[in-house]
């Protein structure tokens, strides 16, 4: 019936999602000081949601694309050719920003759904009491800052995936299956 199946995309996407979940769970566990199970839950929810949102953005934007851009995307998908590297870098940067925002937001939503109320990270100190010099000196980094943790996690997973893509691009022949 058909002669082209997107099987390689499915395998790569599975691989990337699993990699990203593993890496991000580690980073979140370390930065937020939460258990292994909940860090994996956070990471998997965030990654699956950002994948879905990414696909939606892609499918919605394809009909609106100007023809040359669509042609470039088709060449990239079918022949793995990039004739516009600046565009690719720009897109990768936008993807990084977008996934960061979605992942951060998804953690809030997940807390809202699981706990029934948004969890307020205790960043705001109770300033009514006098806390002395110790509290004022407390470095900012000691506070478990969720946005920073998600940013680090996102950066780590993007780095790992980029390394994978680089290895694949610069090894001559792709895996033939």
């Amino acid at each position: 019936m058909s002669d082209v199946l997107p099987l390689r995309m499915i395998i790569y996407q599975l691989l990337f999602i699993v990699l990203a979940i593993a890496v991000e769970a580690l980073v979140l566990q370390k930065y937020l000081g939460i258990g292994r199970k909940s860090s994996i839950q956070y990471a998997s929810t965030a990654n699956l949601l950002s994948t879905v949102v990414g696909w939606f953005v892609f499918f919605i934007s394809v009909p609106w694309m100007p023809a040359p851009l669509r042609q470039q995307i088709i060449t990239y998908i079918f022949f793995d050719e990039t004739n516009n590297p600046p565009l690719l870098v720009g897109l990768a940067f936008l993807m990084f920003l977008g996934t960061f925002i979605i992942k951060l937001q998804s953690l809030n939503w997940l807390d809202l759904i699981l706990e029934g109320k948004p969890v307020v990270v205790s960043e705001v100190r109770d300033r009514s009491k006098f806390q002395g010099r110790k509290a004022q000196r407390q470095p900012f980094a000691d506070v478990p800052n969720r946005a920073l943790a998600v940013l680090w996690a996102n950066a780590a997973s993007f780095t790992v995936i980029s390394i994978f893509i680089f290895i694949r691009t610069f090894s001559e022949q792709p895996v033939l299956f």
Partner: protein, 346 residues
């Protein structure tokens, strides 16, 4: 007569559901509806028939739903802690909802909505709790780990829907760009071709194009006066698109044909017309092929029409010189061996 009763009894025992509230009852209702729908004849919009047959579908779906949740069946259908029943029911629901509407059963909508619908079916028992006093089902919020599971399963199924949609997107691109279909996707990190890219058919198609082009050139120039031929050759850049169009019209349309572009150029002053079929694109990392065939166009003298002497006329016969008319002749050589165009790395 007694054995007839026995047979009926056996059939009834076989067919009779163990309880009235069981999946078999629903299945029989479904079969009954289908039979009634088949017997019903209604005028063209067939509203009555459609209503009855959709009752058949609904009963079938409910019966299958009930069946897969039966204890032994559920155990059989559970692979690695994942219960596959909802996806079977979901497939039926999608075929009913989108297959009957769009008339071709595995439609795009049906495929795309199959995973989310199945995951909703999977999640639905988790919202139901049996009331301890009245034993009737009531709505309940699922517990915290169940909520997490529902979110993950729903998201994962949405990703699978996106894969289906991506498949349909690539098919769409392949139908709009016919030339793509015959190309070599072995480098792609997205798609996979079950049938390998066939170099031989692509090359033979290129040879067909060259042969047809040479034949067309010969029919156009052979035996034409030399001046006309020279004019043809100087306007080559106008002739080539026309030649391309002719070749395209004469060959059967196939994706392999669309890969090739036909060019022509005059390579020497003695009019060697080189026809070139090229299957590569500029700035491409793919390798391409070049096929060439040279046609030599030379002038030959053809004796003009023999002068007619009309002896019955008074005037003396014209003594016009027997002028030789110079015409062209076209000789095409064989196709040169195929030249590979190395991928240009930029």
């Amino acid at each position: 007569m007694l054995w007839m009763n026995e047979v009926f009894k056996q059939i009834r025992d076989r067919v009779k559901p163990p309880q009235w509230a069981s999946w078999q009852t629903l299945l029989f209702l479904s079969i009954f509806s289908v039979i009634v729908a088949a017997l019903t004849t209604s005028p063209q919009p067939q509203i009555a028939q459609r209503i009855i047959s959709s009752f058949g579908w609904v009963f079938l779906i409910l019966s299958v739903w009930w069946f897969v949740y039966e204890k032994p069946v559920k155990e059989k259908l559970t692979v690695y802690d994942l219960f596959l029943g909802p996806w079977i029911v979901g497939a039926l629901v999608c075929v009913y909802l989108f297959g009957t509407i769009e008339n071709n059963v595995p439609s795009q909508t049906a495929f795309i909505s199959w995973p989310p619908i199945s995951s909703i079916i999977w999640a639905s028992p988790k919202f139901v709790k049996s009331d301890p006093s009245t034993k009737s089902p009531v709505y309940a919020n699922p517990t915290k780990p169940k909520r997490q599971d529902i979110i993950l399963v729903l998201l994962a199924n949405l990703v699978i829907s996106c894969w289906f949609q991506f498949y349909f997107q690539t098919q769409d691109w392949l139908t709009t760009n016919q030339g793509l279909r015959a190309e070599d996707f072995s480098r792609s990190s997205f798609v996979w071709q079950p049938q390998r890219y066939d170099r031989a058919t692509v090359l033979s198609r290129g040879a067909d194009i060259l042969n047809l082009a040479a034949q067309n050139v010969r029919t156009e120039l052979e035996g034409k006066p030399w001046g006309q031929v020279e004019r043809w050759l100087t306007q080559l850049d106008q002739q080539v698109p026309r030649l391309r169009q002719q070749v395209r019209n004469e060959l059967p349309r196939s994706p392999e044909t669309d890969l090739w572009t036909l060019n022509a150029q005059v390579t020497s002053a003695a009019y060697d017309l080189q026809l070139q079929a090229l299957s590569s694109r500029p700035n491409s990392r793919r390798e391409g092929y070049e096929l060439t065939r040279t046609c030599r166009i030379t002038q030959v003298g053809r004796p003009g029409a023999a002068p007619e002497f009309r002896f019955n006329e008074q005037a003396p016969p014209a003594t016009a010189p027997n002028r030789q008319q110079i015409v062209a002749t076209v000789q095409c050589g064989a196709i040169d061996p195929v030249r590979r165009i190395e991928p240009s790395r930029s």
